[in-house]
Symmetry: D2
Amino acid sequence: MIDVAQTDELAALRQWRRSFHRFPEPAWCEYRTTSLICAALAEAGFEIRIGEQLLSPSMVMGRDIDEAQEKARALQQGADADWLARLTHTGLLAVLDTGRPGPSLALRVDLDAVRVRECVSADHLPQQLGFASASDGVMHACAHDAHAAIAVVLGQLLAGYQHTLCGKIKLFFQPAEEGCRAGKAVASGGQLDDVDQLLAIHLGIHAHSGELVVCPEGFLSSTKFDVEFIGKPAHAGLEPNAGANALSAACQAVSQMLAIAPHRDGMTRINIGHLHAGQERNVVPAYAFLQGETRGATAALNEYVFSAVQRIVQGVAMSHGVDYMIRRQGEAISIENSPALVHTLTLLGDELGYNVIHSRPFGASDDAGFLIDRVQRRGGQAAYIVIGADLKAGHHTDQFDFDEDVMGRALNLLFHWFARQLTVTVSQPD
Amino acid sequence: MIDVAQTDELAALRQWRRSFHRFPEPAWCEYRTTSLICAALAEAGFEIRIGEQLLSPSMVMGRDIDEAQEKARALQQGADADWLARLTHTGLLAVLDTGRPGPSLALRVDLDAVRVRECVSADHLPQQLGFASASDGVMHACAHDAHAAIAVVLGQLLAGYQHTLCGKIKLFFQPAEEGCRAGKAVASGGQLDDVDQLLAIHLGIHAHSGELVVCPEGFLSSTKFDVEFIGKPAHAGLEPNAGANALSAACQAVSQMLAIAPHRDGMTRINIGHLHAGQERNVVPAYAFLQGETRGATAALNEYVFSAVQRIVQGVAMSHGVDYMIRRQGEAISIENSPALVHTLTLLGDELGYNVIHSRPFGASDDAGFLIDRVQRRGGQAAYIVIGADLKAGHHTDQFDFDEDVMGRALNLLFHWFARQLTVTVSQPD
Amino acid sequence: MIDVAQTDELAALRQWRRSFHRFPEPAWCEYRTTSLICAALAEAGFEIRIGEQLLSPSMVMGRDIDEAQEKARALQQGADADWLARLTHTGLLAVLDTGRPGPSLALRVDLDAVRVRECVSADHLPQQLGFASASDGVMHACAHDAHAAIAVVLGQLLAGYQHTLCGKIKLFFQPAEEGCRAGKAVASGGQLDDVDQLLAIHLGIHAHSGELVVCPEGFLSSTKFDVEFIGKPAHAGLEPNAGANALSAACQAVSQMLAIAPHRDGMTRINIGHLHAGQERNVVPAYAFLQGETRGATAALNEYVFSAVQRIVQGVAMSHGVDYMIRRQGEAISIENSPALVHTLTLLGDELGYNVIHSRPFGASDDAGFLIDRVQRRGGQAAYIVIGADLKAGHHTDQFDFDEDVMGRALNLLFHWFARQLTVTVSQPD
Amino acid sequence: MIDVAQTDELAALRQWRRSFHRFPEPAWCEYRTTSLICAALAEAGFEIRIGEQLLSPSMVMGRDIDEAQEKARALQQGADADWLARLTHTGLLAVLDTGRPGPSLALRVDLDAVRVRECVSADHLPQQLGFASASDGVMHACAHDAHAAIAVVLGQLLAGYQHTLCGKIKLFFQPAEEGCRAGKAVASGGQLDDVDQLLAIHLGIHAHSGELVVCPEGFLSSTKFDVEFIGKPAHAGLEPNAGANALSAACQAVSQMLAIAPHRDGMTRINIGHLHAGQERNVVPAYAFLQGETRGATAALNEYVFSAVQRIVQGVAMSHGVDYMIRRQGEAISIENSPALVHTLTLLGDELGYNVIHSRPFGASDDAGFLIDRVQRRGGQAAYIVIGADLKAGHHTDQFDFDEDVMGRALNLLFHWFARQLTVTVSQPD
């Protein structure tokens, strides 16, 4: 088999990845990233679908941004002005329809960065080479820059082969994976309903360079939620009795949430990752805001925890005489890879020299689950695979960095997965 | 003026007091005490009123006793068998109606001991002299033994003078003052409705031997309450999720109750004095029981705290998915002495050589407030006075002991208060 | 193979079991049970080892009993007076040494009942047949009555065959399994150090009549602990600031303990099953007592939780200005059956018509783990097996009852396990 | 007596006050205000003392500002550029030394605004008249704009009379009264050590236009503090055990602080007005920040609460395995006016037509206490007075506004207080 990741492709991968890394955009703010990919793949011959063509706006979660400001920022950071003007939501679907009968194959990657301040140490490679984050407090610390880069170059590459291909290629560049805020909306958008096979990829989760995990396990169901408590302010010295203390309510709620009993049937998690309450030292705090998440090994376990959260918020609000709001801000479900697709990938990985690992714990959440579930429910095959990559530091840490060489190997793997199934000469031996 | 507390009276005071001290009976269990006083004052010529003649049973609070067992115990400890057989509730009213027109004057004392284990140290006088508590864990540590002794001897003394007296004498021996469980029921019993003047006494609260505080201040309104949380048990190892943790609910409730905000308008208090929850180490606890009290400088302040308690219990029960019960087990209201009566007592105290203190903080609760309020509402005068007594140790402590000599002085004061107003020759100078 | 559980044996099993059931004895109180077994097996020819011959007193945990009172009670309930007089700790080891060279085989059963009030419903078999618990609040609700009965009859049966046997038989009747309070002491007693094979049995945990689980899984490591907080009392109305609130400390400790973070490596548990604090409603509570347990899928996980408990108790005591004590009251470790012994039992179970289940979750703790570990560390084989039994209601519930017929099948299984390995004619074919 | 508050003075008062109101500056940011007052009073002939001439930098609390940015902002808002360049800390002392022997009299006012967003309602006078805050989220909602205006115009007025005056006039314009952050530093600066009499004023606290409260009561001692908890982050789904949860520690600390027992000796308060913890929803929060305050009717009571806060922070940090920091950010002590000065002011108030109120509860804190204490300790007289003013809404609320006419009356009162004591002709009758 040819190795498509030659010098030019490797350079292109690096260039895209470092450009994305330099200008990281958090969930729902990926305007620069989206516009540049739209432009590149439109030029390569793909049909671009954005906004409501891609996702169902009513299912969007956790999108609380200043759109005008983000677009202005994106423009300043080199976004494609024409595409930028056409964007409402971020994310895109690039479609290459060969016009020849054949299967519809899809890839899903993600685009967003995380809110981590990139480390400034001199031995951090992005600092050395000058592509460290230009946006303070935002960083590509989960390799989505690589995911996007791989998919762009893959699209350009496949476009060059399109006359030898049949069927349809769909490249999903999903926004807002962090916080699991967009998967449900994309799955509901209808664009997966003609897909026969869907592949979702992630670099480096518990896998070294050269490894390919074809059936990662332990994807957690999860609900991301915000809680507000709204009380009454009062002068803390003069008339504390006149207040309704929202900060105290928040603290008691946290205390009770962290004590939700574990479950016989398997792993559960609860975390309150952020709490902000009150303003002035001498005022009974009238407002509190919490951001949290629940997880469970199954949807039922996640629901067990989340329903306890709801009960606690309601009870604590009552006992403190405050009002409350609970909002779901993200959601993920567990993932089961389709066996046939796992088999295909195992063989392909072996052929390409990967050390194929059947199963390894994933232990986190990814809203690709909604896309995978959508395809599987309609009879298609879908899988989430981990492409190994040596890391400098763990995901979501400020020193995160990965072995860039794995991008070429990933490109090669994905190219052959598409090409083998869609190439006319391969599938129709004469 | 004659001093009625002569050798015989002093001996009688000591004997009664030590007998009561030796066999202390907690709230609602004062069967021995009640029966002996009934017998003594009936013999002296008083009419005895007990049970529903004294108090309104539906207003009784915090009475959870094994009546048969308590009566058996009382009998063994020397109760009067005849009177014992006639008792339902403890406590009595002894009435001496002279038949001659005149005012109706009343005295209120209390009978019950507290649940404190008396100290066994050799230098504790009751141990030395052999009248320390024979009932383990119960002790007269609040001088109610003295109060009762004084009122019995006073009754016997006044009975000896009855041919020279007019009007009516009513001696209220109230049960269950500790926990403020009987005052409301006695006030509702109707026996105060013909009383023109009521005096309630207490020995030794912040006052030394020889002092007489005629207008103590800072009586707190108070509510005594019990809370139950009823959850669901579950094996803590196998299936913790199946439980509804009543112990955890109790702990969260305590935490929230202790944090009830103080009030602009004055002093408030909350205490959870007892908590019992769960049974087996390895079972999610399905039951919790709390005993607490709220206090306030005014009834409104007490109600502010108690309504917060109710709100907290309800909210915590909801957040834990458990049921709850709240029961009022005792109640006290604040006390304002009638100025005219304060004036009378000031003059009398001066005459008898007391160091009369007008006002001094009391800082606790006494359900005599209900009796005083009843008399005052109907146009009568009522007052609560503190008769000073040097103490060995604070009230409700295991080393509590007081200067017994003050009993004689108290007897003399009370005798003259009655006699001066009721003696025919005095009130009708010829 | 012969079936040794004939009419007489079945009758004996029922009689012993019902006698134990009628007079259940909680942990460390098994004086009646122990004395009767001593007498029976001594008569059958066994050498009896008790007290320090059986266990290491310094390793005893959670033994807080009134020995004189328990012995008096046992005597009244029909204990063997001679043996009773010789007992210090409960429990016994019965040894049958054939004098002929051969392996040393041991069985371990447990004796104690649990603190559950037996149900009084007419359709509860022990009530119908008149062998329900005569000790209020104590019940054999975990089948230890059956375990003990089986081992006694087994001993009597094997004694009858002793002339045909070689090697040594050791029957361990362990006290105080509930709360895991004795296993460590028995393991340290030295009596397992010459044992080649050890079998521990339990009836009915997740297995039906006719099933035999030869390799139950998921035994939890566990620590049972008590915590005391010692503060200072104060009048809650007059001077709350003078107190150091032990009840509040206990509540905060519970709140923090229940929130100990779960662990990446597997299942953990924490439970506070009992809390008792304070006495008087109007006194700042000066004392609190908690009973709890931690569990973990491994010893390290259990230790992770227990060390957090220790840190929390220390921190909470500091923040409340109270003193504290933590005491370990019981301990269990996880169990791994010896493969060779599992193999033997699988074959034997098959032969005897059992439906042999290899593995099934156990999901609880048993301090037999210390005995098993001791044998395995010295090169012996050891296993814990579950002999299925249909149940009327779950273990530790007041309606617990099991299918008595399984006792005969269990007897037969254990007899053949001993006999097959120890019978001279079997092991030495001529 | 002449009324010095004529048309010109009233116009000047309004102009200064509205200028300060338009550009409110929070604590330690009063660069515009300070520079303009420096310029005005220097021009009037006062000697200006700033920075270390005024206060002791090592005693400064709660100053965490971006000095360069605040100065730039002040310049843009019309600060005096020359004086601005010379400022380090804000605040000033303006001294008028007549050179003639005589007493040294001082006035203390404050300069800073509070962090409240001014209401935008059309019927809010500052909105109507166009002098509402130009700085979003900052507002003069405590009348310090008036205090400063009165003192400036007073200075200008007194300067005009300087040839008829003896002794020394010292006008203290204290920064950072909100949060009680500067009083201690100014008191330690040494500039009060030659002051014979000191007057501190406040408009409108519980007093109507025309009232003068010469001996307000109930100034609370207070400590303002910040707490940080520093834990360890961890992925909340993958490895929660690896974290040390600072947010949970903060919540438990709040819960315990709000439950600090009230005190026998009088009023205490605790408030946590602000809490910020954690960043990312799915990360165990590694950092928490709290801002709080304690208060007490006396310094001892405040210390009782603050020492409990310290104990709680330490204990909670231990129980959560996190580090902590506690920083005092502000401090106030209680105030007792000098009787002689109260007497002087009573007579003067009467003469000027004020309705003089001797005493009325103040119920809040003011760090003028440190200045007053400093003067009194050295034998001088000092007092804090409230000059009544009708209010539209309470202090520190977004609709706060006061009757501007009271500024003229206040000016007159203060002028005569200085003039009567310092005028040569008055003090030296010929």
